[in-house]
Structure formats: C-alpha cells, structure tokens
Amino acid sequence: MFVTSAYAQETAPAAAEGDTHAGTAVPAAEHETFPPFDAKTFPSQILWLVITFGLFYLFLKRVVMPRLGAIIDVRNDRITQDLDHAARLKGEADAAVAAYEQELAEAKANANKIGQQANDAAKADAEGTRKKLEAELEKKLGEAEASIASIKAKAMKEVGTIAEDTTSAIVEALVGGKTDKSEIAAAVKSASR
C-alpha cells in the first residue's frame, strides 16, 4: 500500500530529475521500470563488476591469501614445535625422576647393608665376649668346686680322725683301759655310714 502511493508520487520528482540524467534517453521512462530490472544499466554494472571483482580476486589470491596462509602455518608450526619441546622436557624430567628414585633405592639398600653389617659385627663381638666371660666363669667355677671338694675331703678325713679320737677318749672314759685303734676306726666307719 505504501509502495504504491510512493510510486504515484514519483512522477513529479522524476520530471524534475530529468535534467540531471542528460546521458540517458528518456528520463520519464527511467522510473517506470523497477531499477534492478532496468536493462539499460546492465552493461555498466557487468563491466564494473568484472573489473572490480577481477582486481579483488587477483589481490586476494596474490597478496592477502598467501599472507594469511603463512601466518596460520607459522602459528601451527610454532604450536607443534612448542608441543614437541614440552614433550621432550617432560621426558627429561621423567628420566631425572627415575634416576633420582633409583639412586635413592640404591642408597637405601647400602644403608641397610651397612646397618646390617654393623649389627652383625656388634652381635658377633658381644657373643665372643660373652663366651670368653662364660669360659672364664666356668673355669673359676671349676676351680672353686675343686677347691671345695679338696677342702671337703680334707675336712672329712679330719672328721674321721677327730671322731676316732673322740670315740677312743669317750670309750676310755666309760670303759677304761686301752682301746684298740683299729676297732674304733671300724666302728666309726660303720656308724658314719
């Protein structure tokens, strides 16, 4: 609706504009056709489109696109390079960690071994000392037992003579007279049994 009323109003300005379009044939007719379907403008539009688009195509193909392509390629290269570098560094770090752990394990094993050795040595030492002491003690014990035995034997022997003496004295006092030494010894012996 609006469009048609606008069309109706068009005849007046069209006539007024007629002077400005001196190059075209019929000024009034220019407005009768819808501008995009006005075949009179086609040659000019095609020509200038071909010129401008052709130049644009060449410019993009020769200048812009190689440049953009190079920028993006360089960036992609750089990214892959950086990723490789990062991967290499990570590998190095991993290797360092592995080496460190191995050394740590070795050191631990060494420490254990040294500790064990010291322990064994100390034990052996203690064992030797103990055995020596035990042997000494054994010897002393043996000596002591021997001396006790000899003392005991001596004492026993003396106990026999004392008993005989005492017996003979008691018998002499009770019975009177002389006593036979051998008889008394036999009597003591049988009594102490």
């Binding site: 606008a6 190059g23 995009p36 403008t41 000019s44 401008t52 688009f53 130049l55 993009l60 953009l68």
Partner: protein, 252 residues
C-alpha cells in the same frame, strides 16, 4: 525531497557519475560502480592492514581476517575435499565481496551492490561457468555423469536426467535470485518502516508517540538485516562450494 524520503525504491536507482559510452553501450561509472570500488577497497584494505603485522598472537582485527579465511577454507574443504582447495581464492573472494557489499549497503544513503539482480547473476554465472569449464576440462564427457545418478532404474532414467538438467540450469537463477531478493526485500522493508517514522511524526505529538513503534521495528530490522547480510554471503559461498564439488566429483 519529501517523495524521496518515503520512496523505498529510490535507493536502488542507478545514476551515472562519469558517463562512458563504448560501442553503443552505456558503461558509465555509476553509483553502483562507485560502491563496487568501495567494496573491494574496504575489503582489501581491511584484509591487508589487519594482517600487516603478521602477529603470531593475533589482535582483534587480524583474528577477524583469520576467522574469515579459515571459515571459508573449512567450508570448502568440507564440501569439496582437499582437491577443492584450488578454488579457495575464488570462494574466498566471492564470500568477502558479497559480505562486504551487503554490509556497506546497510549504511543509510549507501548503495547496495548486491540488490541488483544483474550483479548477483553475473557472480552466479561466474560460479556455474567455473563449474562447467572445469568439469569438462577435468572429466571430458564424463562430466555429463552429473546428470545420470547411479542406481536409477532404466525406465525412470529419462525423467531423472531431465530433472537433473533442469535443476542444474536453475542453479544460477536460484543462486542469484536468493541473494538479490533478500537484499532487495530487506532494504525495502527497512525503508518503509523508516518512512513510517518520518510520515507519522509529521502529525504532531500523537504522531511522534505513534512513530515509536515503527522506529523500534526499524531497529529490530536493522539487526535482522545485519544477520541476513552475513547469512546470504555464507549461503552464497556454501552453495558455490557444493557446485564446485560437482565439478570435481561428477559421479555422485
């Protein structure tokens, strides 16, 4: 002047700036030519200057250029495979040209190059011409296999081939009309709603209050047109990629 303001067709008029006539043809340098030149200058300058530093870490403008480049590159690779990359310059310049022409056309008082059917048709013919020429050069008559789909029973073949030929011939038409009609319709709608604002506000206070509605509409439409400007450039480029794929692999 009042008539100009509300006339939604006026913006599509072409008038010569430097009249040139060669061999009976009017090939004047017109406002359309001016905006074609402006389109390629703006697009070239943007692409050239934003990438001038060749920064490893791109700035905003360089990112935009790289995004456009990779966007079109991926589009073409997806549609036509690695072989299709030989057409990358063509598709990229088509995309950038249409996109920038559409965007420039959104400025008030600026001419929209792509709102003229002859421009979009010439670009479509360029695409289809490339497809046909490359197809025959690469595959010879094998390119005609494009019209003979595999696995179709013999008695259906004439019908299918006819349909395939019609669909192929209608491609440049649909390709060009889609872009042209979108730009034309969008600009007319914008102009009509903006025209409402102007004519309504002439009716005093009530009119000015009422003109808020079409103004809001015009704002919303401007956003929509921005989307359409990008979308149509994208669609044009995508279809170009698909047609080029036919030239590369005619037996589908």
């Amino acid at each position: 002047m009042a008539a100009d303001k509300v006339d939604p067709i006026h913006q599509f008029q072409i008038h010569p700036i430097i009249p040139i006539h060669i061999g009976g043809y009017d090939v004047s340098f017109t406002n359309s030519s001016l905006f074609m030149v402006a389109t390629i200058l703006v697009a070239s300058a943007f692409l050239y200057m934003s990438t001038a530093s060749r920064a490893l870490i791109p700035g905003r403008l360089q990112s935009v250029s790289e995004m456009a480049y990779e966007f079109v590159g991926n589009m073409l690779r997806d549609a036509a495979g690695k072989q299709g990359m030989q057409f990358f310059p063509l598709v990229f310049s088509l995309f950038m040209f249409v996109l920038v022409a559409n965007l420039i056309g959104l400025f008030p008082y600026f001419f929209t190059v792509t709102s003229h059917i002859i421009v979009t048709f010439t670009l479509a013919i360029l695409v289809i011409g490339t497809v046909v020429v490359y197809g025959f050069a690469k595959h010879g008559f094998g390119f005609l296999k494009l019209f003979v789909p595999q696995g179709v029973p013999g008695y259906l073949l004439p019908l299918v081939v006819a349909i395939e030929i019609i669909s192929f011939v209608s491609r440049p038409v649909s390709l060009s009309v889609r872009l042209f009609a979108n730009m034309l319709a969008g600009h007319i709608t914008l102009k009509v709603f903006s025209g409402f604002v102007v004519s309504l506000s002439a009716f005093g206070a009530l009119g000015i209050a009422g003109s808020v509605l079409p103004l809001a509409m015009a704002v919303a439409l401007s956003a929509l047109e921005l989307l359409v400007a990008f979308l149509q450039a994208y669609v044009f480029a995508v279809l170009t990629c698909m047609y080029l794929n036919d030239a590369l692999h005619p037996s589908h």
